[in-house]
């Protein structure tokens, strides 16, 4: 219930933070908003010896770059992103994905980088283990898996729930990472390992520094939907992010990017469905068929009381609707929504 003791240092800059993290080996953690880290520490699922606080580092507001891309500091609070005029006009899907995260207080505290680096979730994992599920599972460094007893130590089917990750993948964003060797940049989808044991490809002394979204191309339309039971506050049943590029005829799909979160160990692209859409005329039937294909292709993991069958049904319907919404956005605005 109370936290275990730890040391605390405030970093003056991201470089300073990286150095501090590097010095401690794997025993240090960065602290931004703390909305994922602190609950994990409360449950005693993680016991860092040192927290490196990023609180003193002021993020820049989202900015438009010369080439039309939008760059967003990873330390940006989600509330600032959902309310950012720049994002709402230029990258509305990103603003929308920030808008659906958690509850208001979580968005006021949580950051973009923190949202992407959140741990995967599993019912038997997300508890204190004082008298339930006491023996640690593979994810906690132990020797068993409670929901899937036949799984071996390299397999963890805990689910990655970030609402923003699918949006970034659909937008073909890049993620800028700062480490001891300097900066590197990866495409959003390469950031996620698809392995529940360690869902993001980030070294222990690396930090996400920024996210850059390319300018919306001609004929661009977007759609985003987070399925929940209650309409807010929750992690998703499924999170659907869609970006389409239509030809000038307003009907033929040039390119589709479909990313679905909260149903597997990382956000996944429905590549086969995307290929089926590319070059095709997007009528209702085509969208329905693609959505159906995608729901099978994604092969959702059952999680948090939702069965696989139901997640597939949910994805099939909402992906179709989200695709339709994306098409509508292209048509109603001409180019970027």
């Amino acid at each position: 219930m109370i936290l275990a003791d730890f040391d605390y240092e405030r970093a003056d800059s991201l470089e300073d933070a990286v150095a501090l993290l590097g010095r401690m080996g794997g025993d240090a953690r960065p602290l931004a908003g703390g909305t994922d880290l602190l609950p994990s520490m409360r449950m005693d699922n993680v016991r860092p010896g040192l927290l490196v606080s990023l609180t003193g580092i002021e993020p820049r507001p989202p900015e438009a770059l010369q080439d039309g891309s939008i760059r967003i500091d990873a330390l940006s609070r989600l509330a600032n992103l959902e309310n950012s005029d720049l994002l709402r006009s230029r990258v509305p899907m990103l603003a929308e994905s920030a808008h659906v995260v958690g509850g208001n207080q979580i968005r006021q505290m949580g950051t973009l980088g923190g949202n992407l680096c959140q741990e995967t979730r599993c019912l038997q994992l997300d508890q204190r283990h004082d008298y339930q599920f006491v023996a640690p599972c593979f994810k906690r460094g132990g020797e068993c898996c409670y929901p899937y007893p036949r799984n071996g130590p390299d397999t963890c089917w805990s689910v990655y729930m970030s609402d923003i990750a699918p949006a970034l993948i659909a937008l073909d964003a890049r993620i800028e990472i700062l480490g001891e060797a300097g900066s590197r940049s990866v495409r959003a989808e390469e950031f996620f390992s698809g392995n529940g044991l360690k869902p993001v490809r980030l070294g222990h002394s690396e930090l996400v520094r920024a996210v850059t979204v390319p300018p919306a191309p001609r004929g661009f339309g977007w759609g985003f939907h987070k399925s929940t039971v209650r309409g807010g506050l929750e992690f998703g049943m499924a999170v659907i992010a869609v970006a389409l590029r239509l030809a000038d005829d307003g009907k033929t799909c040039v390119e589709a990017r479909i990313a679905i979160g909260a149903v597997r160990e990382g956000p996944v692209r429905a590549s086969a469905a995307e290929r089926a859409l590319a070059g095709a005329a997007l009528d209702d039937e085509r969208l329905a068929s693609a959505a159906g294909e995608a729901s099978k292709e994604i092969n959702p993991l059952p999680h948090h009381g939702f069965t696989k069958r139901h997640l597939m049904d949910n994805i099939r319907v909402y992906l179709r609707r989200t695709l339709a919404k994306a098409v509508e956005r292209v048509r109603s605005s001409g180019r970027a929504a």
Binding site: I2, D126, Y131, V229, G231, L233, G305, H310, D313, N314
Partner: protein, 789 residues
């Protein structure tokens, strides 16, 4: 009705200002110097023998002041009910074996939280796992692991039945034979939980031979009795102090082990000990609601009149008897109260399983029973071609009707409730609309109705309430009442009653409440009797003071008492307002002329004065309540038939609350129950597997948020009057209004989709599966047609 000044008005809560400024002191806000932190060691097994417990290393840890196991207790058992048939069955700490995950085995008191936590880890316990059973129907079978070999058994080879309720009247088989239509259905309700925002907290301080306790509860007198008993102390040595309470809903009546442990640890160390249950402990080790299985067979005449009904109820009681034996009794009560059932056979079983013990939750069985009966009634109505309103009006009990158990409905307003609900909601116009003419798009609307009855007070310890109205010599008043405000507004309501009876303003009355030393006994806030029982006690106490004021004033003024009225802290002549005395003057006169009588009004009340005790839980013999509250509730829902997602759009509650003392508080109760019902209907479930709780937190146990609330309207059918000086029969509104609306939602989902669900919650998956099944049947039928053609 005479002109009322305070009663019947939506006055602001007395405790409101304290609550909005943060001044309200809840149990965890009480701070005593040198307080130790207490923590509990809990069982990691659902069923296991304890071979050995060794607390030596824990005791030796610096900073640990005491460690207790069952060996350090008096070995006295407690139980929710304590009758000859159902003697107390639970010790405060496990002895020899553990029977559910999270069961309390030991407790420590230490100087801080970290030390207490470390001490728990140093307690060595060796277990031998035993076969466990989790499903009540499995637990009832011969050969199932026996959880309590020493308990008295029901006849037959059923090892885990902790109690039964059986009763019948008429001849059900004959009734079914004479019925024009009979159907049988099985209904199940999920495990759900209370979700009170304030966690369980207890602070205990043993000082100068007196145990002072602050604890979050639903009744300080029953808490004192149970705690004193297990501690083997006289009641006068145990004081339960007043604290504000942050929500209970039935989950804080039982005696909890941590309450004993905090007390005992304080008695050993001589220091205050505080134990706070974490939210995770509450979800995984504390007491949830009673999930019921109901098998119902009903026979009706062609016009829908009920002829016979046979009900079998199975309760998953958890690992101790708890209140399981009460809910199976209540399930009978909630079955037979609203409708006439000429022939009834009822059997209820409360079954032990290796789960946490179950507790009452708001409605205590009524929501599940009414969901089942009202769903089936709609199915019957459809089959025989009668609409849902007509069939209910046909069967609803009338005012003044005698019930088979000897109770009477008195001024029950059920028929008026049904009629008004139907009219206000335009029920018959909306019913079946989307099914007959499906609109474009995927949204379907449906409307449903559900009916319920609830009791307003019954007999269970301490059986009666007393109130003291103490006049201050300036004419203001202090009211002493043992009633506990759990959020329902008891202090405000009592104040309004006293204000009305004594003709003084609300600001001139202070309420001192729920302290077992300084306030008189009270039935507590868990049998829906506060307004009726304690309210009448308050009325009587204020009336007692009023009589004395009138008598003294009469003497001093030389005017007969019947010509005097009380108004604005004066006693004045009814016709000549100049002939008057202030209360201050009257009280001074009373002290002077009546040998120091400072004017203290005393009042007490008990429901069913002519009954010695509550009915038999096992046979239902005996009168249950003299105060039935009825309701009819209508739900309008929307379902997305592509996804199965359903939501409550609008709730209408028509209730006969008797007379609303404070309409705003009544509305608050209605809204709160609609919210709780829609949670039960669409989103809440405690998920367990092999006795473990998988979702012990508020992210994964989905309680309604602000997004989920529906439009909630209510109307009351006022059947009683309030008159100064006269006893009144206000009914209850705090518990009975979850059931009808829950049932209504089930019926509304059917109306919207044609999907009849017999198990709550109505998840999107269940609704979607139901829609798929309907589509499949339709397709088969079409193929069959095509093949024939």
């Amino acid at each position: 009705m005479s002109e009322l000044s305070y009663v019947g008005k939506s006055l602001r809560r007395k405790d409101g200002p304290d609550k909005v400024t943060g001044k309200a002191v809840y149990t965890q806000d009480v701070k005593l110097p040198n307080t130790l932190v207490g923590r509990i060691l809990r069982s990691p097994h659902p069923h296991a023998r304890i071979l050995r417990i060794d607390t030596t290393r824990a005791k030796a840890l610096p900073g640990v002041k005491a460690v207790i196991t069952v060996e350090d207790t008096r070995g006295i058992r407690h139980g929710f009910v304590e009758t000859p048939r159902y003697p107390p069955d639970q010790e405060v700490l496990a002895r020899d074996k553990v029977v559910h995950v999270g069961e309390e085995i030991a407790a420590v008191a230490a100087v801080d939280h970290a030390t207490a936590q470390a001490a728990l880890a140093l307690i060595e316990v060796d277990y031998e796992s035993l076969p466990a059973v989790f499903d009540p129907e499995e637990a009832m079978k011969p050969g199932a692991p026996e959880i309590h070999p020493s308990h008295p058994k029901a006849p037959g080879n059923h090892s885990n039945i902790g109690g039964t309720t059986e009763t019948e009247w008429g001849d059900v088989e004959k009734g079914f034979a004479e019925s024009d239509y009979v159907r049988e259905d099985r209904f199940e309700c999920q495990l759900r939980t209370h979700g009170y925002l304030e966690p369980h907290v207890t602070l205990a301080h043993w000082e100068s031979d007196k145990l002072n306790v602050w604890t979050s509860s639903m009744g300080v007198f029953v808490k004192r009795a149970k705690l004193a008993k297990v501690l083997d102390l006289p009641y006068s040595s145990v004081r339960i102090h007043k604290t504000y309470v942050g929500g209970t809903f039935g989950g804080k009546i039982d005696l909890y082990s941590h309450e004993y442990c905090a007390s005992r640890l304080s008695m050993i160390t001589g220091r205050p000990v505080q134990i706070v249950a974490s939210r995770e402990e509450i979800f995984s080790a504390y007491r949830h609601a009673q999930p019921l299985i109901l098998e119902i067979k009903t026979g009706v005449k062609r016009d829908g009149t009920i002829v016979a009904q046979r009900i079998r109820a199975i309760n998953n009681a958890g690992a101790y008897r708890g209140s399981g034996v009460v809910v199976i009794f209540l399930a009978w009560g909630f079955t037979m109260a609203p409708y006439r059932i000429p022939n009834l056979k009822y059997e209820g079983f409360s079954v032990y399983t290796n789960h946490t013990v179950r507790a009452p939750q708001r409605g205590h069985g009524a929501p599940k029973v009414r969901f089942a009966i009202e769903s089936q009634l709609d199915m019957i109505a459809e089959a025989i071609g009668v609409d849902p309103i007509t069939i209910r009006l046909r069967n609803a009990r009338a005012p003044g009707e005698q019930l088979p158990n000897g109770d009477n409905t008195h001024r029950g307003g059920l028929i008026d409730c049904i009629a008004l609900a139907a009219q206000k909601s335009d029920f018959l116009a909306k019913f079946g609309r989307d099914r007959k003419a499906p609109p474009k798009g995927s949204i379907r609307r449906g409307i449903g109705i559900g009916v319920s009855a609830y009791m307003g007070g019954t007999l269970i310890y301490p059986n009666g309430s007393a109130v003291i109205v103490k006049m201050n010599d300036d004419g203001s008043v202090v009211v002493l009442t043992g009633a506990i405000d759990i959020g329902q507004g008891s202090e405000t309501v009592i104040c309004q009653i006293v204000a009305e009876e004594l003709g003084i303003g609300m600001d001139d009355i202070k309420v001192i409440s729920s302290d077992t030393d300084t306030t008189p006994q009270d039935i507590g806030a868990w049998i829906s009797g506060m307004t009726y029982v304690t309210g009448n006690a308050a009325r009587q106490a204020a009336g007692n003071a009023r009589e004395k004021l009138l008598q003294v004033a009469s003497e001093k003024l030389g005017v007969p008492a019947e010509n005097l009225v009380l108004k604005d802290k004066t006693v004045r002549h009814r016709l000549d307002p100049e002939v008057k005395m202030t209360y201050r003057e009257v009280i001074a006169a009373s002290v002077a002329l009546h040998r120091g009588d400072t004017i203290i009004g005393e009042g007490f009340w008990r429901t069913m004065r002519d009954e010695p005790t509550h009915p038999s839980l096992a046979t239902t013999k005996g009168r249950w309540t003299e105060n039935y509250a009825f309701s009819a509730q209508v739900a309008e829902v929307e379902v997305d038939i592509e996804t199965g997602e359903a939501r409550l759009v609008k709730a209408l509650t028509v209730h006969d609350c008797g007379f609303p003392i404070n309409p705003a508080l009544v509305k608050g109760q209605v809204d709160g129950q609609v919210s709780m019902a829609l949670g039960h209907a669409f989103m809440e479930e405690v998920i367990t597997k092999d006795g473990y709780t998988l979702n012990p937190n508020w992210l994964d146990y989905r309680m309604p948020t602000i997004h989920n609330m529906a439009i909630s309207e209510d109307a009351d059918v006022i059947t009683e009057e309030y008159r100064v000086g006269q006893p009144y029969r206000t009914k209850e509104v705090g518990e009975g209004l979850i059931s009808g609306i829950l049932a209504a939602m089930g019926n509304a989902v059917y109306d919207a989709t044609g999907v009849r669900l017999r198990a709550t919650p109505f998840t999107a998956e269940k609704i979607l599966n139901g829609l798929k099944a309907i589509e499949y049947e339709a397709k088969k039928a079409r193929q069959g047609e095509a093949a024939r053609v």
